[in-house]
Structure formats: C-alpha cells, structure tokens
C-alpha cells in the first residue's frame, strides 16, 4: 500500500513542473485575455472595464474578415508546398541516403542555428528587385511585373521556407519506421514501384503527414513575421492585424477578441482535418 501510494505521488511530482508552467504561463494569461476581449474602453482614458461586450467579436470579424480568410489561404498553400517539397526529401533521407543520412538531417535543422527574423530578412534580399532570382522569374514569365517582394507569393515563399523543417522531421520519422521488408513484400505481390508507394508507403507514412501538416499549418496561420517583411499592404495576415491592434493602436479588447476567434477557427479546422485524415493515420500508427 505504502509503495503504491508513493509511486502514485511520484507521478504527480513528475507532472508538477509542467502543470505549473502551463497554469502560470498559459491558463492564467488565457483567462485575462478572455476577460480583456469582453472589456469596453472608458472613452479617452485608455482604461478598460468589464462589460460582457460581445460586440468586440462582431466588430473584429466584420473589420478583418479579408485578412482572416487570407491567413488561412496563405497557410494552406504554404503547408501544401511544404508537403510536396518535404515528402521526397524525407523519403530520400529515410530510404536512399545511406551514410549521408545524418548529414542530410543536420542540413534540414541547420537553419535553426540562425534566428527566424534574420532568415526572413535574408529572403527580403533574395526576392528583391535586383536579385538574380527575381530576374529569372521575370524572364520565364512568373513575375510579369518584375518584382516579387511585397506580393502574396513572397509571403507564401517565406512561410514555406521557414516551416519546412517542421514538415520534414515528422515525415522522416514515420518513413524511417517502415520495415523495408514490407515494401519488398509489396513488390513480391506484383505491385510496381509506384503502386507500392500509393498502397503501402504512403498509407504507412500518414501519421507523419498528419503531424507535419499540423505542425506547419497551425503556426503558419498565426504568423506575422513573413507578411511583415515580405508582404505589402495587400498581403497582411491576421497576425499582423492582431500585432498592430495591440502594439500600435492599443486596442486590447479587439486584439484579444480577434485572437480568440483565430484560436477557435484553427481548432475547428484541425478537428475536422483529424476526423478525416487522422483516423486512418492513427489506425495505421497503432498497427505498425
């Protein structure tokens, strides 16, 4: 009895630091933000008082619906691009890289040695009007106006670049777990290389696809750095709006309300996604 009790209290003890951290830095701030989102400004004072002002939510949605929709479109396209770029890369690292595997994995995470802001600023140079990249794109007709910077394309390119490792790593982890003999069995059972991929490799790597898309999509929707540096006035995302409401316009209630709406919509989207894509993937994972 005594040991069982001690063992159980040990579990709580191990959970304590994490729980404490989440309560202090997540639950409590969330509570204050929820309260703030329902406050009304006392006119001309920059002070707020609690009034159950649901109108904050209505106004936030009415005023910023364009940026809202744009955020989801940009994040969605960037996630898709990440998946298309990362899958073959992860596949090669997992199955074909041999002794280069560690080096290639290192190359994937190497950008983290430089800060996010500096890397995004570097893209400003890469996509500037004078850059050879822009000239090439212009020459082949992909940038008819002759400039890429301050367009939606630049923002999406930046997000894709910045979040690529978050897609590659979970994909690699799930591909690497696949038993190569299962792939041999598929070929032995008359499946060509391509049908082996679609019928065996891809289904078995779905847990990685789900994890990678979530790790990319969720932070990408709320991102404001890429739109701030690489986008123009017409490419602002919801993150930029929230940032400017908080830091420039000091409209804390509207910013909080907008944050909550964003959180709710992301949760709904993710929930639907997991319901459809995730159930299959999680079953695959269970059976591996």
């Amino acid at each position: 009895m005594a040991t069982a009790l001690r063992r159980r209290s040990l579990a709580y003890l191990l959970l304590a630091p994490g729980t404490l951290w989440l309560v202090i830095f997540f639950v409590i701030p969330l509570y204050f933000m929820a309260k703030l989102s329902l406050d009304t400004e006392i006119p001309g004072t920059l002070h707020y008082h609690f009034t159950w002002a649901w109108s904050n939510y209505k106004e936030a949605l009415q005023l910023y619906d364009t940026q809202f929709v744009r955020s989801f479109i940009y994040a969605g396209i960037a996630t898709l691009l990440c998946l298309i770029i990362a899958y073959p890369l992860a596949y090669v690292i997992a199955f074909k890289a041999g002794r280069w595997r560690s080096l290639m994995l290192f190359a994937v995470v190497a950008p983290f040695f430089t800060t996010y802001l500096v890397r995004t600023l570097a893209w400003k140079t890469i996509l500037s009007n004078e850059s050879p990249i822009t000239e090439i794109f212009h020459a082949i007709g992909l940038a008819p106006s002759g400039h890429i910077l301050y367009t939606g394309f630049a923002v999406i390119a930046g997000i894709t670049y910045n979040f690529l490792p978050f897609m590659v790593l979970p994909l690699y982890a799930s591909l690497e777990r696949i038993d190569v003999r299962v792939l041999e069995a598929s070929k032995d059972l008359y499946a060509s290389a391509s049908s082996t991929f679609w019928k065996v490799t891809l289904p078995l790597s779905l847990p990685g696809v789900v994890a990678g898309t979530l790790l990319t999509f969720i932070p990408a929707v709320g991102d404001y750095v890429n739109a701030e540096f690489l986008g123009g006035a017409n490419n602002r995302m919801i993150g930029n709006v929230i940032q400017s409401l908080y830091l420039t316009q000091s409209n804390y209630s509207a910013a909080s309300a907008l944050s909550f709406v964003l959180m709710a919509v992301i949760m709904i989207v993710v929930f639907i996604y997991i319901r459809f894509a995730g159930s299959e993937a999680l079953m695959g994972q269970e059976a591996v």
Binding site: V182, E184, A185, S186, D188
Partner: protein, 383 residues
C-alpha cells in the same frame, strides 16, 4: 504434376513442360568484396519441396532473394520453367515469398493482406473475395478475416503470410525461415501443416532454414550450403546417412568424424588406428578424408583389443563423460588428439545400463563396416 510421364515420343528440345521448375546456372553474387554465393548451380523439379540448408551466412537467403528478384546475380543465369527471369523485377516474376518476419501490411486487414497480390494482378472483385476466403479457410483463419495483423499471434501471422503468398498460385513459393520466430511446439505443428499444404497445392517450394531437423522432416531434397557453395544435394535419407563432405556430416546430426587417409582403393587408414575397408568413391589414394559413424551405430565395450575382431573395426579411447538422457545414455569417448566420438546407447535394460563404463574408463568402440562412411575434407572449410 511432378510424376514421371510415360511417353514413347521424344520430347522436343524447346518444350517448357520438361524444363525444371527453377534452374540456377553458375550463379555468383558478390557484395563489395564479399562473395555470398559462389558459382552455384541447381535444378529444382516441379512440385518439389526443396530445402536450402546451412548456417547463417552460407548464402542460402541470398540465393532465395535472387530467385525472388530482390537481388541481381553478379553473374550466372536464373530460369523459372525454362524462362530466363534475370532481367525481371520481383513484381513480374511468377514467384511469391513468405518472409522470415512475415512482413504483413500493418495498415490492412487479414483479408486485404491476402487479397493484395490478386488485386494488383487485376483479378475481379468477386473472384478475389472467393479465393481469399478459400485460402483463409485452408490455413484455418476464416474467422480472423477482418482483424489487423497486430491483433494476431505469431503463429497466426505466419499463416496469413503463407495464405497471402499461396493465394496467387505462384509457380514457385519461396520461404525464408518461415518458422524461425515461433516456439518449438508451434513449429512442429506448422511443419506438418506446411508439408500437407505443399502436397495439396503441388507448387514448388524453396525452403530456407538452418534447422537440420526441419530440413530432414519436410524436404524432398536438401541442398546443404556452406560459404556460398553447395556441398551436397540429395534426398534427406542420403544426406543423413551418406554425407559426402566433413561439413555436411558435421552439420547434419552429431559430428562423429575420425580423421583418416585413403590407403588404396576401398581402404582407409584411421589416424592412430586400423586400416578399414570402406567405399572410398572417387577419392584419390593418399587423400585426406574422414570416417563417419553415427552415434547410435557405435558399440562401446570395456574388453576390446586388436584391430578387426570378427570383421568389425575397433578403435580405443577413454570415456570423457556419460550422460543419462532418459531414453538413451550418451557417452563421449576421446580417441586422443582432440578426436571425440559420441555413442548413444538405448536404455533398454536397467541392469545393462548400470554396467556402462563411466568417466575415465578405457574402452574400445566398434561398428559394423557397412555403418562406416567415408567423406571428403570439406573443400570450403568447416564453415
């Protein structure tokens, strides 16, 4: 299918009906500087249960993988029913494999696993359902059709792997130590079942194992492999009773080998022992060889002297150990110079058993001349 066909007409040379099920001609496989299979030639009859037997690293699995198409031979030819398959990838060969680890598709149900091959071949939905159901019935898994491989025991997974391969009615079924991961009791049961299924379907089985007992029980013929070479190909009785090399003799059963030299046609001289009449086959005069006598064919006695009393060869030695095994007593006799012979005496009579010599006793071993068999020194080392 495998029976000899009585016909008065000479078969035309081109007839594929007469070509062997699987033919390997001078097949060599090198991995970098390691030669896994060295100039191997084998012909397998149709409907034959053929076993590749040998220790790990002898090249048996590599040979199997070359027939399946997972490995390309460095040189040599592989033909299945007369058709050269060397250039074909695995999915275009008329072979199916039962993998050592089963390699079932974890994301598919038992039914979908078994139907996988037929679906890829474009067989109709109804026919797939019918054939899958019949195959699951055969291996006794009809009720597990909708379960996932992870929900099945090792023995059940093994049956799914077998059904998944057999349902496609391949010309050759390749089995890579399929029972290796199972416990002894389950393995014995599945050996019998596998043999029954093989007779039932009449498909050529190529079976890879390192377990000599399994090979002797199940095979029509056995190829004993060592270091990439085939040392002997024969029926189980022949491999057991008349091994041709020291390696085969040692690998099959207890290695009761007495080093000897050929002393003229039909004579060998045992090292430090008598000259004995024996079938020396194509061994040359003066060539080194070994004499084999199976443990159960040896007689141990305390009173022996001389070389050939009443026509039976004798050698002398000292008892090293005596071990009671229940049905028999195992006595190890040291003939000197690191040559040890194991004798198995059946425990028929308790009084007789009490009289058996114990450790340290000087004894002589004798045997009927027809039970001694001369094998050549293994050309490929002892493995």
């Amino acid at each position: 299918m495998s029976g000899p066909e009585q016909t008065t007409i000479t078969e035309p040379e081109t007839s594929t009906a007469e070509s062997p099920s699987v033919a390997l001609r001078n097949v060599t496989k090198r991995f970098d500087d390691f030669t896994a299979v060295d100039d191997l030639s084998l012909e397998l009859g149709r409907g034959e249960f053929f076993t590749l037997l040998g220790p790990s690293g002898c090249g048996k699995t590599t040979t199997l993988r070359m027939i399946a198409g997972f490995e390309r031979p460095t040189s040599g030819e592989i033909a299945i029913e007369g058709e050269d398959v060397a250039a074909l990838p695995p999915h275009k060969r008329p072979t199916n494999t039962v993998f050592q680890s089963y390699a079932l598709f974890p994301h598919l149900s038992v039914e979908k696993n078994v139907g996988f091959g037929l679906k890829r071949k474009g067989v109709g939905k109804d026919e797939i359902a019918e054939r899958v159901a019949a195959e699951l019935q055969r291996v006794g898994l009809a009720r597990e059709a909708n379960r996932r491989p992870s929900q099945l025991s090792g023995g059940m997974q093994q049956r799914v792997a077998l059904a998944r391969a057999l349902v496609n009615l391949p010309k050759v079924l390749l089995l890579d130590e399929p029972l290796g991961a199972l416990d002894l009791k389950l393995r014995k049961g599945l050996q019998v079942e596998l043999k029954r299924i093989q007779r039932e379907v009449g498909i050529t089985f190529v079976y890879v194992t390192h377990d000599q007992e399994e090979a002797l029980t199940m095979s029509d013929r056995i190829a004993v492999m060592n270091r990439g070479h085939v040392e002997q190909v024969s029926v189980p009785e022949e491999v057991y009773d008349r091994p041709t090399t020291t390696f085969v003799a040692g690998f099959i059963g207890v290695s009761n080998l007495m080093p000897a030299t050929v002393a003229g046609a039909g004579r060998v001289r045992l090292d430090g022992g008598p000259e004995v009449g024996a079938d020396t086959g194509d061994l040359d005069n003066g060539e080194r060889c070994a004499a084999v006598v199976r443990p159960e064919k040896l007689t141990v006695s305390l009173d022996g002297v001389g070389a050939e009393v009443d026509g039976k060869p004798r050698v002398e030695g000292v008892v090293e150990s005596s071990l009671y095994l229940g049905t028999a007593t195992q006595i190890v006799v040291n003939l000197g110079g690191d040559v040890r012979m194991t004798v198995l005496v059946p425990n028929a009579d308790e009084a007789e058993r009490q009289r058996l010599p114990g450790g340290g006793a000087k004894v002589s071993l004798s045997w009927a001349p027809e039970h001694m068999h001369v094998v050549r020194e293994s050309p490929n080392g002892s493995g």
